[in-house]
């Protein structure tokens, strides 16, 4: 358990006091209690399901409450959910108070803005398009308060500088909240229409499904990335190179591509090209890859098949695009003496020329079973010496410039849980 600094407790308490102040005028306003109760129950139910299954929060009900109820009553809507939903992390009480107070304050702000701009009458008489104006202003207020409080708690609890805590928060959350605000507006209008809350409930169904699909998308994407990582780890370990060679080649390829001014999509493809460039080594016998001492010409020929094996493996993966050509040709040389096809000059795909330089650079700057790591300067000098014959001078120049600007700090993320892969892909059969 991590100790929560006293300042964070103070911040949460201050926000809670603010919420209580907002709730004070409650006895003086005319509150439709049954609508309030229904919205509270609805929000608690949605929050329970969404938090358990996808993580995140579900705003349409809150925004509908802001459009339907007077401000002090609207601020009550998030409270039961915060009290009822389970809290996974300690300290539970503090988290509950925060989860109640933060949305309560935001909803109060949204409802106040909406009320002041006459949004209530627009909703009741369904006066479109005017109703969009107060609703838009309310969504903006909601978003501003949420992000201000989020940034505040980050700054207080984690000691992140305020400016960094706030950067990007608003622009990231505004679009999703605006869409949820439209759904909330539709809910409010239908709620006040002759068709009543039943029709309003229908709005939630598509929102829920949208949420579900989005969560599925993220789960599937994470699984996909894990699969690619596992593929790469298997190669790295089988090869007996230092760990993370593939990933570092990916990073160096990105550096070169960015220096050459390629667009983001192509840079991403080149990252994959670098990461997967040696995937064909899965098809080469482990004994050969790990052999110490000189290789016979025949053994060398077998190892030199790996670009073709790799291309054969990945050619069905359409999102890799030109990375597939890079995998096939990353051992071609500019003078035409490389393999597998002996292409020369401009005939070698550009992506392959990038990966070739990145590969050679990392091979020189990392420790291998047969050689010590060389300093970056020496490696760059060696690359420049071979530029023109083996490497494309444009790529070498780009790498030199990029390293001069950013330095070389390779970060390898795929270090966790490699032991089982070693047992399987490393050829070390348990006997």
């Amino acid at each position: 358990m991590e100790a929560v600094p006293a300042r964070a407790r103070g911040f949460v308490a201050a926000v809670a006091v603010l919420v209580l102040l907002c709730l004070l005028p409650l006895p003086t306003v005319r509150t439709p209690w049954w609508a309030l109760a229904l919205l509270c129950a609805l929000y608690a139910g949605c929050e329970y399901v969404v938090r358990r299954r996808f993580g995140g929060t579900f705003h349409p009900v809150l925004l509908a409450a802001a459009f339907l109820l007077p401000p002090p009553a609207a601020a009550l809507v998030p409270l039961p959910a915060a009290l009822l939903c389970p809290v996974e992390q300690r300290p539970a009480l503090l988290r509950r108070v925060w989860r109640a107070a933060q949305p309560a304050l935001a909803v109060w702000g949204a409802a106040t803005v909406h009320w002041t701009l006459g949004g209530r009458d627009a909703v009741v008489t369904s006066d479109f398009p005017y109703a969009l104006l107060p609703a838009g202003a309310a969504v903006l207020a909601f978003c501003l308060i949420l992000t201000a409080l989020d940034g505040g708690i980050l700054a207080v609890a984690e000691r992140v500088p305020l400016r960094r805590a706030w950067r990007g928060l608003l622009s990231h959350s505004l679009a999703p909240v605006a869409v949820q605000g439209l759904a909330g507006l539709m809910m409010a209008v239908l709620w006040r229409s002759p068709y009543g809350p039943v029709a309003a409930l229908l709005v939630l169904l598509p929102m829920y499904v949208s949420w579900w699909v989005f969560a599925q998308y993220h789960r599937e994407r994470a699984a996909h990335q894990a699969t690619i990582r596992a593929l790469v780890q298997a190669v790295d370990i089988k090869d007996g190179y230092t760990r993370g060679h593939s990933e570092r080649v990916g990073q160096a390829s990105v550096l070169i591509a960015r220096e050459l001014g390629m667009d983001d999509e192509r840079i991403e493809v080149l990252r994959f090209a670098g990461i997967l460039h040696d995937v064909g080594k899965l098809g080469v016998p482990t004994r050969l890859l790990r052999k110490e001492g000189p290789l016979t010409p025949e053994e060398r020929r077998v190892i030199e098949l790996h670009p073709e094996y790799g291309h054969e493996m990945v050619r069905g993966i359409s999102f890799l695009g030109e990375a597939r050509a890079a995998i096939l040709h990353h051992h071609e040389r500019l003078d035409g003496s490389g393999y597998p096809y002996g292409l020369a000059g401009e005939r070698i795909p550009e992506a392959a020329r990038v990966v070739a330089v990145a590969d050679a650079f990392d091979a020189m700057t990392s420790t291998r079973s047969y050689s010590r790591a060389r300093p970056v300067e020496t490696a760059l000098a060696e690359l420049e010496r071979c530029a023109g014959a083996q490497f494309d001078p444009r790529m070498v120049g780009a790498l030199v410039r990029a390293l001069r600007r950013h330095g070389w700090h390779p970060a390898v993320t795929a270090d966790e849980a490699h032991a089982p892969v070693r047992a399987v892909a490393g050829g070390g059969t348990p006997r």
């Binding site: 229409s193 002759p194 894990a226 047992a423």
Partner: protein, 430 residues
């Protein structure tokens, strides 16, 4: 093919009749017709070309249902009839489908037939009764409930229609297909229905402004469904490539994993497995031999079915360990691990993988009589090796005229083409 002709014929008849009636009487409420037409056409334009998708154009589907169930515009009763609904939906759908037809992407005819019949059903149920004033007594919430009931009925009809079309196209058994469609009704189908109802009600309250206001959230749903489909397809390709690693390493013959996956999927469908289980089965079948990567000395021709049982089980466990590493659904790893267990302890997917793998290995190089003899060997094998119901189903699938080959998960060209085949669209060498 008679089922297919029947459905297409009914759709064509409905469309022609509606067109004739509308041409005779002319369009009423043109503004509304135009607004909904544009909405449906935009939704169709955004359709994606995945024949497996249950609901490829949710926005267009919801828009057409809303138009079919529209009774009022900002409180003023509308006058359009069922025939006009079908006509507007048809014209908009055809306009929206032009780019798709131009690129030759999808079987558009089935899609159109389904849309016309479903919308026709909803409109015929609703519009005549509404025009006669039968629903005036259903004021307020009751009216909303009525719409929900109508939409549920329409959804059921659509599910039956979709299952019948898929059955006619693929010859897969009707029962599991229908079950799959009905399950889809709970997911995105319910969202489409609810959106249709909300649009119809909201237009009745606030007028046409409701369309853009509520379409934006749904458009986002459509986009995220699309992205989800894309990442699923990519993931599947990655798994297939991983499976090819064993073939390239020389552990198994070219195309083996893919053939086992295709045949296994057909057997799974024949046994009525659901879509989620089928995905697990497909991934497991693709990766069932991956444990062989860890062997120092490869099994001759990768044929594991002839090995002693404990050796088979050891390779299966090694394979399960690799699959767990890859971050695929843990259920896939379980199937790979248990593929060599006695069949009464296995989950259904593992039974299928075991039987189909054995069949593939035995029939591979055995000449023209190979398949029959292999099937016979499976039937006669020691009790407990291969599950009898799976072997029977395999026999049924193989007896079908080349039905299972159509659903091969990827291009079935394996390594029979030269290794240096250039990737389509990429000039790999000068």
């Amino acid at each position: 093919m008679t089922g297919l002709r029947l459905i297409h014929g009914a759709a064509a008849l409905t469309a022609a009749g509606s067109l004739a009636v509308t041409l005779g009487t002319g369009l009423t409420d043109r503004g509304i017709a135009l607004a909904f037409g544009v909405l449906i056409a935009v939704g169709e334009l955004n359709r994606w070309s995945d024949s497996q998708a249950r609901q490829a154009a949710p926005l267009a589907a919801a828009g057409s249902l809303a138009y079919a169930l529209l009774g009022a515009d900002a409180g003023r009763p509308t006058a359009h009839r069922a025939a006009q609904v079908v006509t507007v939906v048809l014209v908009a759908a055809v306009l929206g489908a032009v780019p798709h037809i131009w690129c030759g992407r999808t079987p558009t005819l089935d899609h159109l037939a389904r849309r016309v019949l479903t919308v026709g059903f909803a409109a015929v149920c609703f519009q005549p009764l509404y025009d006669q004033g039968l629903f005036t007594s259903w004021a307020g919430p009751g009216y909303a409930l009525l719409l929900i009931a109508l939409l549920t009925l329409t959804g059921l009809c659509d599910a039956v229609l979709a299952a019948a079309l898929a059955h006619a196209r693929t010859r897969w058994p009707f029962g599991p297909l229908l079950r799959e469609q009905l399950r889809g009704l709970l997911g995105i189908g319910s969202a489409v229905g609810a959106t249709g109802a909300v649009m119809a009600l909201a237009v009745a309250v606030v007028g046409l402004w409701a369309l853009p206001v509520f379409c934006l959230p749904l458009l986002l749903t459509q986009l995220s469904v699309r992205r989800y489909a894309a990442v699923r397809a990519t993931y599947r390709q990655t798994i297939a490539s991983l499976a090819r690693a064993t073939e390239i390493a020389g552990c198994t013959p070219a195309g083996h994993a893919r053939r086992v996956a295709a045949l296994g999927l057909a057997v799974g469908r024949d046994l009525g497995m659901a879509e989620g289980e089928l995905t697990v089965l497909e991934y497991a079948a693709l990766m069932h031999d991956i444990g062989q990567l860890s062997l120092v000395d490869p099994v001759p021709a990768g044929a594991t079915a002839g090995l002693p049982p404990e050796e088979q089980r050891r390779i299966a466990l090694l394979g399960g360990a690799v699959v767990r590493q890859t971050g695929v659904d843990a259920a896939v790893a379980v199937v790979v691990e248990r593929q060599a267990d006695p069949c009464r302890d296995q989950p259904l997917a593992a039974r299928i993988v075991r039987a189909v793998n054995a069949y593939e290995e035995k029939s591979r190089d055995a000449g023209p009589e190979g398949p029959l003899r292999a099937l016979e060997e499976l039937r006669l094998a020691a009790a407990g090796d291969y599950a009898p119901e799976v072997v029977e189903s395999l026999g049924r699938v193989l007896a079908r005229p080349r039905g299972w080959r159509e659903i091969a998960p990827a291009r079935d060209d394996g390594r029979r083409t030269a290794l240096s085949d250039p990737v389509r669209g990429w000039v790999t060498h000068g």
